[in-house]
Symmetry: D2
Subunit: 349 residues, 4 copies
């Protein structure tokens, strides 16, 4: 492919705008040919900022454009699966924001269409492309720490989102923890067969009133016998807390949070530093760029994408199982909520 890859963007919200800037300013191999959003003003603002030549009135218009090689689906979650299907049917490669959907059935329908169309699909689990987590993955692949035994993921937000967001989020396990479920599979390179959830409402009773939890520990039983824990909270007063540890047969690898600077101030009060990078746009800025570069490269070189449809399906299964475990107060096998199907599809592990 000697010409630039032609991309189109569906959804001009926060994450859509971020991806638009990345394509426009950071990835010379690709260009944005069109953008669309139900709110035309948002689409137009992004188009101006990023010199996107066309604001389409609908996703359909984009799918019909033969010059578009691939689409980035950044619309609300409940539209993802249908848009993936339509994009695939139109022969477009697809980058879809996470999660694909909250329904395994809808995900499976979408993945079937992708498979049938033979297009590439990458799901937006950007954290895989963070230098810290990539380093952990490398330590495991290279056996630098031997065979993994125990995984611990700490993933806490600086503050809970608005209750309105929570109500539409599908619950913490499908929303916030979905990244951690993906991280667990990515780091260990293995599937989870069973989960156990201990959770509660510690941060805000309104979250409980909305039927959700805000604090949780989820135990992961991997197929290999390794054991993982995910430690989630909607509120870490000191900021965004994103760390992992893996103990293996030969050693341990553990990552630290990222900071705006590495200055330490010692006074009569304490030895201290500034707070970690506050939230995902800062903390994962580079990973968002890296994931799009990987997507573009996979298309140009015609190689598999690094986060496949099966990789996008698994965290949803895990999220549903985690919720079921919490509701029924017992360990839950992933098969109980639909794992079997997913294992049939191609996976990147």
């Amino acid at each position: 492919m000697s010409r630039k890859l032609n991309l189109a963007l569906i959804g001009a919200g926060r994450i859509g705008r971020l991806h638009a800037e990345t394509i426009a300013f950071r990835i010379p191999e690709a260009t944005l040919a069109a953008i669309t959003d139900l709110r035309a003003d948002l689409a137009e603002a992004v188009a101006r900022r990023c010199a996107i030549p066309r604001v389409a009135i609908s996703a359909g218009e984009i799918f019909q454009d033969p010059s578009v090689d691939a689409v980035l689906i950044c619309s609300p979650t409940n539209t993802h699966a249908q848009l993936v299907i339509e994009a695939a049917q139109a022969g477009k490669h697809v980058f879809c924001e996470k999660p694909i959907d909250h329904s395994i059935e809808k995900i499976d329908r979408a993945l079937k269409e992708v498979e049938k169309a033979g297009v590439k699909l990458q799901v937006g689990y950007n954290r895989r492309f963070d230098a810290n987590f990539a380093r952990v993955r490398k330590a495991i692949i290279s056996a630098e720490i031997g065979r993994p035994h125990l995984l611990h993921i700490i993933s806490r937000d600086p503050a809970p989102p608005p209750i309105s967001y929570i109500k539409d989020s599908g619950g913490m396990f499908l929303d916030m923890t979905t990244h951690d479920f993906d991280m667990a599979r990515f780091l260990i390179g293995d599937d989870v067969t069973q989960v156990y959830t201990a959770a509660g409402v510690r941060v805000d009773p309104q979250i409980g009133a909305a039927g959700d939890v805000d604090t949780a520990v989820i135990v992961l039983h991997f197929a290999s016998g390794a054991i993982g824990t995910i430690d989630n909270c909607r509120k870490a007063p000191y900021g965004y807390d994103q760390r992992v540890e893996v103990l293996g047969s030969k050693g341990l690898i553990a990552t630290e949070n990222c900071y705006p600077n590495y200055a330490v101030i010692s006074t009569a009060d304490s030895v201290r530093r500034d707070l970690p990078l506050n939230f995902f746009l800062e903390r994962y800025a580079q990973s968002f760029e890296n994931e799009l570069r990987a997507f573009v490269e996979a298309i140009i070189k015609d190689t598999p994408t690094p986060v496949t449809g099966a990789d996008g399906r698994a965290p949803v299964v895990m999220g549903l199982a985690a919720r079921k475990s919490y509701d029924e107060h017992r360990p839950v096998y992933l098969e109980e909520v639909g794992a079997a199907e997913g294992t049939a599809t191609t996976r990147s592990l």
Copy 2:
């Protein structure tokens, strides 16, 4: 009490010898009047080293000595409960190594005698007296990090003990994890009502053949709704790994391992430091001294000991519940294995 406190030591093994040296060389307020061990040669060696004037032929001889104020029970675990009973009946204050016993019934009988006799009992959960964990406890008591939500305890040995030891140990949950169960109650200042265990044999199949596990994650449900995890492994190739983290409503406190030195070496290969202090005698040296000082002080000042009989009972209940959870693959309430009784006794939390 103007004279020195007269102590006697039952058991001259590794930990007995350590306590003897501490009393002899570090605690001017107390003196060792007598020592006994089934192996007289061991008792005599310690007596010489620490200038203990008398080697008694039995614990009974010690209990009958009216000049002895208190005894340190450092004999094998299966003799603890009976010795506690005899000591209490003889009116001696008791410092008993952990665990008191593996049987809740035997523990309860011993604690009843202690209560009846009105003597003081302190159980050897020394880690409470470590500066790092004490700092964490202080942060919680003082609300420096607010109300605790999530606890994570990492507790890993540098290498597994001999299989012969494992066979007599009562299993990892009653042996190794017992310290972590105590640490969980100590730090959070709350009782655990229920546990869930994910565990396996990852380090050595012989441990599995002996009916035990060597790697485990135990989820703790606290009465307050806080959630804890204990992360255990019999083998951390880099040495003794002893860390805790507590997330509270106002912040996080996390401890690091302790090192023989704080030098960092940077070469063309890596930026590195030496391994952590390798095992408990080095890592917890100061805590062993501190716990005996606290015991001596509690007697001299007639105040409650900082680790009571109920504190010694709880980790055994938790260990039994953790094993039951592993065996039955479900969360287990502590009541199922005997928690109710224990809550009737005095506790230090």
Copy 3:
């Protein structure tokens, strides 16, 4: 200024190319109108990469272009002063790479033309725009650490440059240390009156044969009485070492190196991490972007540039004094090599 700022680039070497990419991809408020280099192929390659519409045959052609608002001078050091003069006479604002020149006389002539023309001049001491050093500066300005007493700058390269480079460099004090001299003035916000140099050839005898040193400590006497040390070496086997510490009347601020990731690996050998970011293009990537943004902003808002001509002159005086101190083996006042003149010009401190 509602339109974009029109810049032109003189010099298409490593640093010129970097600045071109920054303007093209990161700073929407400015655009590159032209580029020139004695090697037309280099200029053309950068023009293609960054969509620069015109490759000029000479700097003169650029100066005559009325549409050019400002120029970036990235040519060899010995051409800087003359180009600054010509740019100023043509009414262009100037961003000039460091050092302006090795001759105080030439610098002073250039600064005089800048002053006469009333154009803005910013000198490329990019490290001022690094988040770590900016944080140190902030701590001093805000009196977070009180009045500064002692400064220590560690500045070591991963490996020495080729001997051919060394021969043309003006010597380590005018080449490598020039950044540290600027950093010292920037952080403390004060002028240095006197220096003492201890130096030698430790890394490579060829450097000595070329009349230069490769290892040095330079003591700085600040006007305020504060004392600084700069610790330089042409070879730090572990990579680029760039740290500072300032002790003040209320506390200490110290910065750490920057790393490609913040993972720590613990094995039976050591507790280690990967090496720091290896060299200035990685370590200071963000600062190069920040300095150009500041230059563009100073022009657009018509405010003073953050690194003035006087700021560009002072490190050269310090470098000459450091060399004189080394040669004569005594402390040297900056006045001895031309400080007096400089203090008459505007300075940013």
Copy 4:
């Protein structure tokens, strides 16, 4: 020597009492036979605390006691040299607190007597026995970091001593810096030939009025060509700051301060830890024990002491040269103040 080594203590002040406790409670191979102090009440208090059987009325009484193998001289500095002479003449081995004296002539007379008598002399530069600095020394001896190029010693007290103390101290360079001069020689394993001092009064004008400085940087030129800097301040508001760094041809070794605990607290304000161990009794507690153990061992095994008379002489020469450099504002060769003589005596480097 099958019996315990018989020691006697001259001086029952703070450091004398510390050494008494160490001998009494930590070093089973030695015992304290006698103690003396001009203030008999102090001597008696220490004797009681440490079960020392005899309180002598004078040092002379101790020197005449044939059962005394060695003496610890912990009296005021101006009495050290004369007591060393008398002890040596009486055939006693000598542990002498630092500095031996402020006069090179008096030191040389004392060392000559020690040499003549053939007794062992160890000078109390305890920091050599600290685990951190010992680790740095080991890295240099083992060539882990290659040949040393640059040394940086940071040595700052939490707060200045009373002015009365300062007046009798011999000045900062003979008092506080003396430890750092010794550390420099110990770490690099080389002699310093020349020093340059930049210093001032930053902390308290009364210190200046007393003719002393409170803040200093001292550049050390080693015989090998390595360069060192000592960074001193009488006041580090965050506590006792004791760090070193050595850059060698193969790498860097750097030590951190020591802390009462290794807990990190993250709140909405900062990521922080408690202050370092506040002062030398806490920070160097273990090193005080180690140095006496080394002294006792050197006598028992008849091996050289690890800190010889020449090692005790050198820091005084360096201190005098540092002051001369400050007074005359120029680099000063150690020969100018008496180095030549010292090199004739045995040295430990």
